[in-house]
Amino acid sequence: MSAVGTDIPILRKRRRNDRPGSSVLAPLALCFPFFAFFALFVIVPVVYAVVLSTKEIHRSGLGLAPPTSRFVGLRNYVTALGDGRLGGGLVRVLEYFLVQSLSMLVLATVIALALDRTSSRVGKAVVRTVCFLPFSMPLVVGSVMWSFLYAPDLSPIVHAVRSAGISGFDPLSPHLIFWGLTNILTWEWTGYNVIILVTALQAVPPEVIEAARMDGASEWRLATLIKLPLLRPALVMATLFSMIGVLQMFGEPETISAITNSISSDYTPNMYVYTTAFTADLVNYASAIAVVLAALTGILSFVALRATRRISAV
């Protein structure tokens, strides 16, 4: 169409008139409502948190009077960077990303592709709804549920494993807790990623599939050589959001910590932020840890995006 347009001077002229100053106003106006909310309810609190992170509490005497806060610059950050509990938590969530997130994404891709080649509409709807249920379950509900499903004497799973003759199976024990929590995360979030990938697969033009089939491609070749590459942007996005989610893991380990001795209050960095802010009442230090966590997440996301862009460019 653009080829035709450039041939006709009148149309060309009108095109240029269609990008006057108002075309800068229009997108900004469209963006305004979102960014207004964003500024009020994200940026303001973030700025406040950053300001808090540069302060420290000061008390006089025994501490019977309300404390005052004074500016200490980057001291909280220096402490945070040397804090073994924060470092340990970071290493741990990275482990979860490498093991749980990546395997979950592989599983989600396999499910999405399997779903795509299913012809039964009822089957598809059933699987999609079943995928939706786990992550739509509130964490509070999940914690009650898993406290029964993992309790050594109340769990039908443990009971079944024991009946099969395997001893020492306790998903809450220190040497199995990693897998116990991995299972909960996988159970909860695989469906979410399946839905993202299935939505992306819906964007694949059916003519492309038909043409490939007519060329005699097997289903396997279809999946790996055509659908997978077309899924790449969605997979990149899903991986990125998984990484951010895992780095900020809070709810799942927090709710499981009540039923096991194997999860400490600083198991993940975000749990450490919560404990420091709300239990220890050290809001300043908690803000510093949160900023470090956010910065690290940002750097890793940036690196990840750059890396995937370079791969797709090749």
Binding site: L62, P174, I259, N261, T275, A280
Partner: protein, 436 residues
Amino acid sequence: MATSWRQHLGRRIGAAAAVAVAIAVTASVSQAGTDGGRTRLAPAVVHFWSWDPNMGSLVAQFNKSHPSIKVVLSDINPEYAKLSAAITAGNPPDVAQIEFQALPQYIATGALLDLSKDGFDKYKSSFPGWAWSQVTQGGGLYALPQDAGPAVLFYRKDLFAKYHLAVPTTWPKFAAESKSLHAANPKAYLADFTANDPSWLLGLMAQAGANWFGISNNAWKVSINDRPSIKVANYWQGLIKSGAAKTDPGWTAQFWHDLTDGSVLTWMSGGWAADLITSQCPSTAGKWGVAQLPQWGGAPASANIGGSTDAVFKATKNKAAAETFVAWLNTTNESWKNLYSKVHLVPAYLPAFKLKAVNSKLPFFGGQNLAPLLKTASSRVNTAFTWSPITEALYTQAGDLYGQAISGKGTLAGSVASLQTWAVQTLKAGGYPVAR
């Protein structure tokens, strides 16, 4: 035309939004309790934060008998995070229920009213010495004791009979019976070491004479790794190592199941635990007995686990009404009749132990009247026991450390030593002076 349709819609939305905002603002203003000027005979509003599920009936009772005061109850769980945030923002409630262990933290915010200036010292003799000392600091009185948690031994009478166990009166006997029970039935344990509930272990340490904090020369003293604490830590370490104590986390479905099916035969806890056993283990009705804790020797001792106070905030706009309510709730028999039977609290108020309602025979506990037992236990609590301003964080840290010790990474005694270092660091980080 399209434009006028859009203007019309816009006007409609704007009007609806304005109405919605008006409703919301009015609602929040009235909740803030500033309706003193609305009608001339409006009752004074007192906002009361508590977490006990049945406190509402007490509030209703008070409002009925005191028509010039209206107490508005907010049931809040967890209360402390919200309370701290509200104090920071400058809008705390008028009255809040605060546990003994958390009181110093709130005294340190400077937001609590010193009740001694309004004549509340007259109640001193109505409360046990330990309770009164825990609500006073630096010469000021910052709350009235509400309920107590004198630690006693809850045990399965039926299973004790089955395994031919006597009620252990000393800790060495308790250890011996733990081992013999577990040898007789590997699935049964005398006690469960609840690493995730450090208040439980601290209670047992306090019974042995531990006192982790103190104030001297306007500075905090920290002595977490004192001899009684190490003694009790080693005691339980021994039981766990020999397999004679279970290590399931407390307050979980698994824990109630243990108490129900006889995997665990006892629970040492504050008197309020009677109510929990009743509701969480209903099929064991009539099978329980209650006794004093095993002793270490010397003068008989117990400890207080849990228990709450009620404090009034300086920012209250209805001080007289708030104080009237606090006094009524905690120091009148008419309140305690229902606090015991409806909210199932154990009185800190000593005269309440004479009430008939408090001395009821509980069928769940085989017809036993727990009141005399609890009153005696309460009288054996160390009056010098002091809490620090960092109890919540201390419990979290202790829970982490005990959990690691249970999992084989270290010992309980080592945890206690680590806790000492941690507490000194944390007090300093919070700006508190620490004595060396």
